[in-house]
């Protein structure tokens, strides 16, 4: 029980780091102390996680204690720290309550190690990358980064949906803060979008997704009577298909927000406004995969609803293809990578949707390695290029920054799916699972394979434009060109190793190995896997498919090489002939503009309408009496002259009398009020007398 019992400290170390650096860092600590605290906190988390994961291996020998439940069959240890929201009873008398509880099982173990491990590397990288920032900014950056780690770990470890939601919103907040980190800078001159705008866009888009997440939670809470994840999953059988489908779709909508799926992906490309380590950590390796993680977490719920599964698969596949096609035409190094991330996330969702949950997690892991590497290498490039991000102004960098170049090539090959690098195995597992889906298997496979080709193509394009060919930057930049410091290169190297070897834990069985990862995850995700594997198993066919997908990837690479290095004029001709499509891609299919028209414009209109309604209708009714009085008195002004001259006729006199009374009511002279009171008495008593018949 030793280190597992300390599981709750895993998110707490970064919280401590955040508090120290956030409250005291900027004023009292030197820079070195700041990064030692920040990196140390994450390292401690990593070590404790590692110990806990090791201890989890012989879960059978663990003894339950109060507040710590052990489920040997599912390899799960659940720590309950205390009651959070005891909300009384539901209609049927069951206790509606939410606990602060954390759970460690193989699924969260994988995530835990990926998050803390990659997170630690990126923290180390940030020391060098942010090194030239002035001190308060430096401390603020590490404080935010630590807070993010804490929230991400809460998300991963949470054993009940609200605890997961704490992390879910927390990472959203950190993402907001870190995207808008340079809050005084402009991000996109063309659309006049500042970094703060980008952060807000990310946060709001995520919040829109959260509507789904919250509603899904509520639906489950009310119907299952609990929000404990295992409690819900145990009750999926009794919930009924309608509730399952609704809840699954709602949760998936939330996941769409966080994992940047259609229709909520628009925030992720703009999230590149943040510093590059942030893009690597949050918008590639960890946070954006939270949606995939939660979907896998709730796998039994999804499996109860074929419709929801299909929706997940289709949305994932479409996102993968759609984002990859946009990635073809981008010129900002980080935006290419961002669309690539969206596309890869679509892949993961596709995997989850076809029931290959462990493949989704596998791809999540390998993607964390190679995409973090890509971003960090890109950061190194940007660092070397004095902040330039436009790939049209790069080229020929391979001679100047060899380490960065080498790692970038590895990562590119890994994401393109070239064996035996990490990306190959995970991507292939997904494609194979997609192919076996019924009834859309072939279609999904085609989309997936096409995306793989596109990915290889645009990644190679990126590589060529950045590192090969002629140098397109000016002398000023050349003068400052330098390889990054060691604190940046070492993480690159470590990640490069992982990008090569990370996939070897999941070599498919057909190749004669045991799929280690799938086996490890089986206690949690096994049920879903069996469903996916119910399809007829044909080893030879699987090998053929593997070769086909490799060929497609290679074809993409070659095409990229031809178009961008060998025969650029062919590319120009192609772009000419398909100019309309090209423009669409460059402008990202005008989705942002569309959302502006159909979402934002009506929202602003609604706000304006509400204000107008308040100002004119509601207040208008209230002031109606006043307006009438005023109107009457205005008309009477004309008559006043006649009154003074004594030229009054009877009708005029009546009008004048009335209007005059009305206006006098508002004179502010006390005597008027007294007169009115006495007149009132007169009227009342007269009425009384008349009624009495006197």
């Amino acid at each position: 029980m030793t280190l597992i019992g300390l599981l709750w400290t895993v998110p707490l170390f970064p919280v401590a780091g955040f508090l120290l650096n956030g409250l005291l860092g900027a004023r009292f600590f030197p820079k070195k102390a700041v990064w030692v605290i920040a990196c140390g906190a994450v390292l401690l988390s990593f070590l404790v996680s590692l110990g806990a994961v090791v201890a989890l291996r012989d879960v059978g020998s663990l003894t339950p204690s109060p507040g710590a439940a052990v489920d040997a069959r599912a390899h799960r240890v659940t720590l309950t720290l205390g009651s959070w929201m005891p909300m009384g009873r539901s209609a049927d008398g069951s206790e509606l309550s939410v606990d602060w509880s954390f759970a460690l099982d193989p699924l969260s173990a994988v995530m835990l190690l990926v998050v803390t491990g990659v997170g630690f590397l990126i923290h180390v990288y940030s020391i060098g990358y942010m090194g030239h920032e002035p001190h308060p900014v430096f401390a603020r950056f590490f404080a935010y980064l630590n807070l993010f780690m804490a929230m991400m770990l809460t998300l991963v470890l949470g054993a009940s949906l609200p605890v997961v939601f704490v992390g879910w919103e927390g990472v959203g907040l950190c993402s907001y803060l870190l995207i808008g980190f340079y809050y005084d800078r402009m991000f996109d001159e063309k659309t006049r979008m500042s970094c703060a705008d980008a952060g807000r866009k990310a946060f709001i888009t995520n919040r829109i997704g959260d509507v789904g997440f919250i509603l899904g939670m509520l639906l489950l809470f009310v119907n299952a009577g609990t929000l404990d994840i295992q409690g819900i999953l145990a009750k999926t059988g009794t919930l009924g298909p309608g509730v399952c489908t609704a809840a699954a779709l709602l949760l998936f909508f939330g996941a769409c927000g966080k994992s940047a799926q259609i229709p909520l992906y628009v925030w992720l490309p703009d999230a590149m406004a943040g510093p590059t380590p942030v893009s690597a950590l949050i918008h590639a390796a960890t946070m954006v995969t939270a949606g995939v993680y939660v979907t896998c977490r709730m796998a039994p719920l999804y499996l109860k609803s074929p419709g929801a599964m299909l929706a997940v698969a289709v949305v994932g596949a479409l996102t993968a293809l759609f984002a990859a096609s946009i990635g073809l035409a981008q010129n900002d190094i980080k935006k290419v990578l961002a669309y690539s991330t969206v596309s890869q996330l679509g892949y993961m969702m596709l995997a989850a949707g076809v029931g290959a949950f462990s493949a989704a997690i596998f791809h999540l892991m390998t993607h964390a390695f190679f995409k973090a590497l890509l971003f960090l290498a890109a950061g190194s490039v940007i660092h070397a290029m004095s902040g330039e991000q436009d790939i049209r102004k790069m080229g020929g960098l391979d001679r100047h920054i060899p380490w960065t170049h080498a790692t970038f090539v590895i990562a590119t090959l890994a994401i393109a799916g070239i064996p035996p690098l990490a990306g190959f195995f995970s991507k292939d597992e997904i494609l194979w699972a997609a192919f076996n889906q019924r009834p859309l298997g072939l279609l999904l496979w085609l989309v997936g394979a096409g995306t793989a080709g596109l990915t290889a193509f645009y990644m190679w394009r990126l590589y060529v434009l950045v590192f090969r060919g002629e140098e397109r930057f000016d002398d000023e930049v050349r003068h400052h060109l330098h390889e990054s410091p060691r604190s940046m290169i070492v993480p690159l190297a470590v990640l490069a190793v992982l990008a090569i070897a990370g996939g070897w834990v999941g070599i498919p069985e057909v190749a004669g190995f045991r799929n280690l990862l799938a086996g490890y995850l089986a206690p949690v995700l096994g049920a879903g896997e069996e469903a996916a594997r119910a399809a007829p198993h044909a080893p030879l066919f699987e090998v053929v498919m593997m070769i086909v997908s490799t060929v497609i990837a290679a074809f993409g690479l070659v095409l990229g090489w031809v178009f961008y290095e060998r025969r650029p004029e062919a590319r120009v001709r192609l772009a000419e002939s398909a100019r309309g499509l090209y423009r669409l891609m460059v402008n990202k299919y005008y989705v942002d503009e569309l959302y502006g028209k159909i979402v934002l414009a009506p929202y602003y209109a609604l706000c304006r309408a509400a204000a107008w309604f308040d100002q004119w209708v509601v207040d208008g009714v209230v002031n109606a009496a006043g307006y009438v009085t005023l109107a009457t008195s205005y008309t009477s002004v004309g008559f006043d002259t006649y009154v003074v001259d004594g030229l009054v006729n009877l009708a005029g006199y009546i009008v004048r009398g009335f209007s005059w009374v009305f206006r006098k009511v508002q004179t502010g002279i006390v005597q008027t009020y007294a007169t009115a009171m006495i007149f009132g008495i007169f009227v009342l008593v007269s009425a009384y007398l008349l009624a009495r018949g006197h």
């Binding site: 002279i669 005597q671 008027t672 007169t675 007149f679 008495i681 007169f682 007269s686």
Partner: protein
């Protein structure tokens, strides 16, 4: 008609006329003088009603104290235009309202029941009046209200001083 009745009607008429003059007169000083006249007449009516003590208090406090206060105030308030306009349209309207109310109340009186049931009883005993009875009532039954009234006067005095001070 009994002599007392004659005296009463005469006094009442004087009081009413001078009261009208109080509000009619354009000069504030004149108003104050008419006011004093009204007060005296009312005091006399009190005597007729066998309320000698109150009559004396009336003369002392009203005619003595309050009027002096008024005169002081009038002199301190050095009006640019002492002859304020008297009858505006507003005043006419107020007058109409006021007179109608008076008329109405008179009408109520005249419908009878009140008038019959309230004829005054015989005068109280003794030439010395009823001051002793009044004293008993004031200082025995109504001692606390009496003391409170004195505190009220004290508060009013302090309040008046505070308000009227030049700088505060």
């Amino acid at each position: 008609m009994a002599p007392e009745a004659v005296v009463f009607y005469v006094l009442a008429s004087i009081a009413l006329v001078s009261a009208v003059m109080v509000i009619w007169s354009r000069n504030v000083i004149h108003s104050a003088i008419y006011l004093v006249l009204t007060f005296f007449c009312v005091a006399a009516v009190y005597v007729l009603l066998r309320a000698e003590f109150v009559a004396v208090v009336q003369v002392l406090v009203y005619a003595g104290g309050i009027l002096v206060l008024f005169l002081f105030a009038i002199m301190l308030v050095n009006l640019r235009d002492p002859l304020g306009s008297r009858l505006g349209v507003h005043a006419t309207l107020s007058g109409i309202v006021g007179v109608s109310v008076v008329g109405m109340i008179l009408y109520v009186y005249s419908t009878g029941r009140l008038a019959r049931s309230l004829t005054l009883g015989p005068p109280t005993t003794g030439g010395g009046g009823n001051i002793q009875l009044l004293g008993d009532a004031l200082y025995r039954d109504y001692l606390l209200p009496f003391e409170i009234a004195s505190i009220l006067l004290l508060v009013a005095m302090i309040g008046a001083i505070v308000l009227a001070r030049q700088k505060y």
